[in-house]
Amino acid sequence: MDTVVFKQNHVQPLEKITYERPSSLCDVHTHYCPGCTHGTAHRLVAEVLDELDIREDTILVSSVGCSVFSYNYFDVDACEAAHGRAPAMATGVKRVNPGKIVFTYQGDGDLASIGTAEIIHAAARGEKITVIFVNNAIYGMTGGQMAPTSLLGQKTTSSPFGRDAQLAGMPIHMAELLAQLPGTVYSVRRSLHDARHVLQAKKAIRTAFEAQIDNLGFSVVELLSSCPTNWGMTPNEALTWVEEALVPFYPLGDYKVDERLQGRKGAPK
């Protein structure tokens, strides 16, 4: 196992490990672009799997989009679903493996456009799965087309004049929408644009998995993420755009927290 060792100073021997790869992540390079927050999201999920000691009980259902290769990065049993169908495939996996932990990792095109029927009904059934929903307001893998979550006025390769509500309707707020369904026990939105928010995101991911471990119902964490490549920005500019454009439109918050989850790490005080 490779270990990243940060030098505390140049004199002392390197004995104390302060930061290393979570064992739930594979020791491979990812295909994600520089500055993309998918890597952060992967690491947070892996840290949670490690901390809850559930790596060997966990099954990942990958989706289609930039997250399509996530099965290469998580060191867990995994399958690759058709575009948008991860919640249905996860339902099949979970129903015949009721004692295992099953999670999907989906982007906004996958979850909020082609897969709306599957995500809505998995939540409505209270399917005991956890959904990590990475919202970067664009189709990344196909080269930056308009997503259901693209902001009004946002220029993409398929909305070259900016998203027009008359043509393309309004962006969808999924965390709020899924919170309306009785089968959902946990639906929150977090952001990955700075360290403080990253830590808050991790707590939410942990709570979402705890909801599944306790067999409570459907849990989802929406993560506002950056896509410097397709937004045409530097990594830092992209993080600033998450904070200044995405967060105001997609308010961070807890849209549903089942009372049995109250008081846990990451739950509201």
Binding site: I59, D75, A78, A88, M89, T91, V96, K100, E118, I120
Partner: protein
Amino acid sequence: MSKQLLKGNVAFAEAAIRAGCEAYFGYPITPQTELLEHMSRRMIELNRVFLQAESEVAAINMVYGAAASGVRVMTSSSSPGISLMQEGFSYIAGSQVPAVIIDVMRGGPGLGNIQPSQSDYNQVTKTAGHGDFHPIVLAPANVQEAIDLTVLAFDLADKYLTLVFVVADGAIGQMMEPAELPPMRELPFERPSWALTGAFNRERNLVNSLYMGVEGLEELNFKLQAKLAQIQREEVRYETQFVEDAEVVLVAFGTAARVAQTAVQRLRRQGLKVGLFRPITLWPFPEDALAEVSERSKALLVVEMNAGQMLHDVRLVAGIHTPVKFLGRMGGRIPLPEEVEHETVALLEQLAVAV
């Protein structure tokens, strides 16, 4: 076990349960809904998995997930629903996981109607989804065979890690006949080594149809083609009646074959030399066996409840040497034995004149 009066759709469902089906995902559609209804009661009673999905698209992807987890899993639908499931069929084929699909066909295209039809022959044997694959396709002609072929479907799916279809028209799904169910099989204690069960004390498993590299995907396709070739060699099934001395051989499957059989029996009683060739596997199509029959006979008459879908496979086998005629009814209409007799007699007369 003794015979009991069973509806085709119920027979499919109960046969699947007894064959060890551990999970069923489906969506209501006429004329197969009794199958789903039977599953909804029996699977819950047996503490197995039953789920009514939000759509056929979701149902087949749930099947994919359960199949990837290494249990015997099934769905059922009818023609428009089968069209919707094609996405999942292709992924299941590419991932090489076993699954059983029951298709109780109805009239098309579009919403068509709910009458018996053989409208899905092309869809299930040739165009079940994008990419190069064929499911094994079994076609029962009565309720007993519906039971036997459903059990066989699960065994073949596991043996070859493939999709297996059992296709019947609505008549077989809806009719009641005396039939005998097999005994209940024990469910296996362990899952297959490749199944998704959590990577406990082993390397992780991956079920996937994505191969970004050209080499990897071509290699997968070579493997799939080799498997299909093996299935073509080893799993062909068909039935013949009176073909040894037949001048005209009727070729038909499912309900159309039963009608053709009645016609053949009546014409034989009149002393006419006619026979019946009934493919039981629509894929792999019984090419060699039909070719032999075709060489011995003067003409073939294909009878289908569609515009002539299996007809093309028969023509490929018969080549240019044996004339192939076609009698088809569409829109959910079942041909009458009299129509088939009339067409057969006309063909025999043509042949006599030609000689």
